[in-house]
């Protein structure tokens, strides 16, 4: 089997401007290459510097990246002008690698407006099937029949991992596929009102992602600021 190549970042574009009120804004667009076939979760933020002093830090963004959806855009804004205008920027990022998963087939409400609650079926020895290592568990799934389509609310817990960030990607397969991702550090979490088209069967897959360390891209990029 060929070895998975290391994930790398390509800066596609960056633009920054400052207006006459001293409001600085902009962002950078990155492509991520060598994404594993089962996708990755990523968090990132921009660190802006002025003569090596930190001038501004952006909010964090997150995304679920696959081979066909492999770019992120990180924006930044704040009250900065004059001799505090940044001269370089870089991306700080963290990857979440696939860790564990749970598959479920929640029961479906037959009539319009009805809602079914499903809990984990038990195995031969009484263990819950919607559970994986470290007490990560799908606690329950509520499926609401919304005029023939489904609105799905999933309740999960991350057990021992509480207090550190964990990523989850919830996928629902009916006639099509919908997915939603979430990064959280609380012991439990609800992913509410996910949409799925109506169908005879619903297969749900919950993938847990484990965070790696925060990393700074090794190069601080010089930036040009346009005055508008």
């Amino acid at each position: 089997m060929a070895k998975q190549e290391a994930i790398d970042f390509v800066l596609l574009d960056s633009q920054f401007e400052v207006d006459q009120d001293g409001y600085f804004s902009g962002g950078a667009h990155y492509q991520i290459i060598n994404i594993p076939s089962d996708g990755i979760l990523i968090q990132g933020y921009l660190e802006m510097k002025k003569e090596k002093a930190i001038a501004l830090v952006s909010d964090v963004i997150d995304g679920y990246l696959t081979a066909i959806d492999d770019t992120i855009y990180v924006s930044v804004s704040g009250s900065l002008d004059g001799n505090a205008l940044p001269d370089t920027f870089t991306l700080n990022y963290r990857l979440f690698k696939a860790w564990d998963s749970v598959e479920a087939s929640p029961s479906l409400p037959a009539s319009f407006g009805a809602q079914n609650l499903s809990v984990s079926p038990k195995g031969l020895l009484g263990g819950k099937k919607w559970k994986c290592a470290g007490n990560k568990e799908l606690l329950s799934v509520m499926v609401h029949n919304d005029d023939g389509d489904f609105r799905i609310s999933s309740n999960l817990q991350i057990g021992k991992a509480a207090g550190t960030d964990v990523g989850i990607v919830a996928e629902h397969h009916t006639d099509g596929v919908t997915h939603q991702h979430l990064i959280f550090n609380t012991p439990s979490v609800s992913i509410k009102n996910q949409y799925a088209t109506g169908a005879e069967k619903l297969k749900s897959r919950y993938r847990f992602f484990k965070p790696e360390k925060w990393t700074t891209l090794n190069k601080f990029n010089p930036l040009e600021v346009t005055r508008v």
């Binding site: 704040g78 939603q180 012991p187």
Partner: protein
């Protein structure tokens, strides 16, 4: 991680409110024990359980908890349907305890202190081998960015970092001279953060303080029973939180059913502004003077000095300028303040009658309207009057706004009206969810920083007058509808970012007032479907022989049996008669029948139509009868009652939150009593206006606002209504029924009851049968 013995010690209140649509809101108030004297923060989430199974988990928020106020309020809302209504709850929590505060002395060089627009970045000093560290626990300050802002508080933000993100919180303070500010508690979501802005007036060196907070491990409480179950109750009138609390005679209110209270602190900068008519000569004489010269002469006029030169300030002589306020006089915050929202509970023992339980959000004001009171050139028109605008710029507090809701505070529903003047933009009115909220100014406290004045000319137009921006006015209704549309567009555009992968979507454009165009995606799926459960049959088909003009009368009857589980309240049908080789030879359209058809019930319909033999193939007596039926479900609301005003030209309004699947929940009905005819007329008319917005992706049909006039004995006197045939997806309109020629004697002590109904298409059915015309 720090692990004290802080734990949940008492469950004070827990209730669940059920709405008819299957949504539930759970609210609990719990008390924590062993809280130290220094405030700590508890991050908590509410788990709702049904028969031991978790059915929903709330988001988390940090709550400030003090020794004196050890309670935390939590809530969650979700769709539970009929069978998943929770019976118990549990709480996940962890707490953040403070580390030793670290203070940083930040000298401000003169060029920064004096020069507007100048910036400075402070960083820890570097030595040969080491670097100064600005650290409190795991939180540290990387840099402090200072901006000098002209005429206002200067702005500071701090770049902070943590070696243990997610498990570290921080709070910042800053002080310069007597001026101070602080940030709300925040948890690091990543290793570095830029803080919220801090605002102080730089009068000397700046001292910035950071307090890091360390998190405990997460803990989970035992499940507790939800004590109270409340059916959603749509209230027509609301009393203030304080009033209801005091009426109960309690010291600390229980939070009362589903009502939650949010206090908006309106900002620290603002002042008093007056605009009034003065003499044209005074304007002409002083219009080119600068502020100092004008302030000097105004001061002389105030002091009744004999040395006042030039023309008198009014036509009738000099008077103190603060008496010149016949056009505008208000004390208000500036529009560009940042507002801050806290969730509060009524507490008669707390200063101001409310106790804060958590910080909710800080934000910039969203504007509903701008009312222009700028001075302009004298164009000689009748509307132009010479004016003095006077303003004292102040720092302090300029009112708080208490908002009562049944859910969480929604920043999209909060907006302000603004009065725009030569001396600044002042908040004129506060609105939440389409309702005007009066600010509470009892606790205001401010000090004057500066004064300014201008003279000029003002056009007294309707668009500047506050009367046109009151609840129920046409202009305000339009603006609120526009804002609702913009908000729903934002929601839709956010939702559309992750569209279903297997659905075709038809884009359509909407144009907002700001000129920006947004895409709204409409599901390419007929919400209405052919209903197999709608059993339709023709039961009678009889015709007469052609008359002398060749007209053939046909009587036709049919049955519709509702075999679905839905209630049908309206049936519309069209009848088309065709003949082979000819096509359509007649029919009848736009038939509408009100009904209330429960599951299993049968509707009998009949219609009469006329064909003409000259439109037909006379050699054939066979015709095809096609019946196209559409059935609708109905939403019906009794909005409430309004007392008819005793005086003419008086406005009365009714505000109602409705629980609708089709329409936006906030409905405001305005009623004005006006003379019907000349002043001596013995009759008056009542005019009503209400706006409605379709919040769905489907059409709303046969919308009706009905008004029933009840005389002073409570007997029904008359009724009237106005309708809208079709209201498109995500669109709005307004309805205006009225009563005309009502004798004044009839209106004395009268009230009106107001009802709203709307229909949604739930199914269609077609039958096509061949029938033979009898000779």
């Amino acid at each position: 991680m720090k692990n004290l013995s802080i734990d949940l010690v008492e469950h004070h209140r827990s209730d669940i409110e059920l709405s008819s649509g299957g949504y539930v809101t759970i609210s609990v108030e719990v008390e924590f024990g062993l809280i130290p004297e220094t405030p700590i923060y508890i991050e908590a989430q509410l788990l709702s359980l049904k028969d031991g199974v978790v059915v929903s988990i709330s988001d988390t928020y940090p709550h400030e908890v003090m020794f004196e106020h050890p309670r935390v309020y939590l809530s969650d809302s979700f769709h539970a349907g009929n069978d998943q209504v929770p019976d118990t709850y549990a709480i996940n929590f962890r707490y953040f305890t403070p580390e030793e505060k670290y203070e940083i002395d930040t000298p401000i060089p003169p060029e920064i202190a004096r020069q507007s627009g100048a910036y400075l970045i402070h960083t820890p000093k570097k030595g040969l081998l080491s670097k100064e560290k600005w650290v409190s626990g795991a939180a540290s300050v990387d840099s402090i960015v200072v901006k000098n802002v002209a005429g206002e508080d200067d702005e500071i933000f701090v770049n902070v970092s943590s070696s243990k993100p997610v498990s570290t919180g921080f709070q910042l303070t800053c002080q310069s001279g007597d001026s101070t500010d602080y940030t709300i508690f925040k948890i690091f979501d990543k290793p570095q953060l830029a803080s919220d802005p801090l605002r102080v007036h730089l009068t000397g060196d700046l001292v910035v303080g950071i307090t890091g907070f360390a998190a405990s491990d997460w803990a989970t409480t035992e499940a507790a029973v939800i004590a109270e179950r409340i059916q959603a109750d749509d209230r027509v009138s609301e009393t203030s939180a304080l009033d209801s609390d005091q009426a109960d005679g309690g010291n600390v209110s229980n939070i009362g059913g589903n009502t939650r209270y949010f206090m908006v602190n309106t900002g620290g900068a603002g002042g008093e502004v007056t605009i009034g008519r003065i003499s044209r000569e005074f304007v002409e004489h002083w219009s080119s003077a600068d502020n100092d010269e004008l302030m000097e002469v105004l001061s002389e006029i105030n002091s009744e000095s004999d040395e006042v030169s030039g023309p008198t300030i009014t036509e009738s002589g000099n008077c103190p300028f603060y008496d010149i306020d016949d056009i505008e006089h208000t004390t208000a915050p500036y529009e560009d303040n940042e507002y801050e929202v806290e969730e509060v509970v009524p507490d008669a023992t707390a200063e101001g009658g409310y106790r804060s339980i958590r910080s909710v959000v800080k934000g910039e004001y969203s504007r509903l309207y701008g009312r222009e009171r700028y001075s302009e050139e004298d164009d000689g028109s009748d509307e132009i009057v010479p004016i003095l605008t006077f303003h004292t710029g102040e720092k302090g507090s300029f009112g708080r706004v208490i908002i009562e809701t049944s859910g969480d505070f929604d920043p999209n529903k909060f907006c302000v009206g603004v009065m725009e003047t030569d001396v600044g933009n002042f908040i004129d009115s506060y609105w939440y969810d389409g309702k005007l909220i009066e600010p509470d100014n009892d606790w205001d406290d401010s000090r004057t920083n500066f004064s300014s004045a201008t003279v000029g000319y003002l056009a007294l137009t309707d668009y500047g007058s506050k009367e046109n921006y009151l609840p129920g006015t046409e202009l305000i209704q339009e603006l609120l509808e526009e804002m609702d549309r913009d908000n729903s567009l934002e929601v839709d555009s956010v939702q559309s970012k992750n569209p279903p992968t297997d659905k075709k979507e038809t884009p359509k454009t909407n144009q907002s007032s700001g000129g920006k165009s947004e895409w709204v995606f409409v599901k390419d799926k007929a919400e209405h479907q052919t209903m197999k459960e709608l059993n339709m049959t023709l039961t009678r088909f009889e015709n007469e022989a052609p008359d002398e003009d060749g007209d053939i009368s046909i009587d036709l009857e049919f049955e519709i049996k509702n075999e679905s589980d839905k209630d049908i309240s309206l049936i519309k049908y069209d009848l088309v008669v065709e003949q082979d080789g000819i096509g359509t030879i007649g029919g009848q359209t736009r038939n509408t029948e009100d009904c209330l058809l429960d599951a299993g019930e049968v509707f009998n319909g009949s219609c009469w139509l006329r064909l003409n033999e000259h439109h037909m193939d006379k050699s054939s007596s066979e015709v095809t009868v096609k019946l196209y039926a559409r059935v609708y479900e109905r939403e019906f609301f009794k909005l409430g009652s309004i007392e008819v005003p005793a005086e003419t030209n008086t406005l009365a309004t009714l505000t109602k939150e409705i629980n609708s699947n089709l329409l936006d929940p906030s409905i405001v009905v305005g009623m004005v009593r006006r003379p019907d005819g000349d002043e001596d007329s013995k009759e008056d008319r009542l005019e009503f206006k209400a706006s409605v917005t379709n919040k769905t992706d489907t059409y709303v049909e046969d919308l009706e606002l009905r008004i029933v006039l009840m005389d002073r004995t409570g007997a029904e006197d008359d009724d009237t209504y106005d309708t809208v045939d079709t209201l498109g997806p995500h669109s709005g309109t307004f309805i205006e029924p009225s009563f005309w020629g009502k004798p004044k004697s009839k209106l004395k002590g009268a009230t009106v009851d107001v009802f709203l109904k709307a229909h949604r298409l739930i199914g269609t059915q077609i039958i096509s049968e061949t029938r033979t015309l009898s000779s």
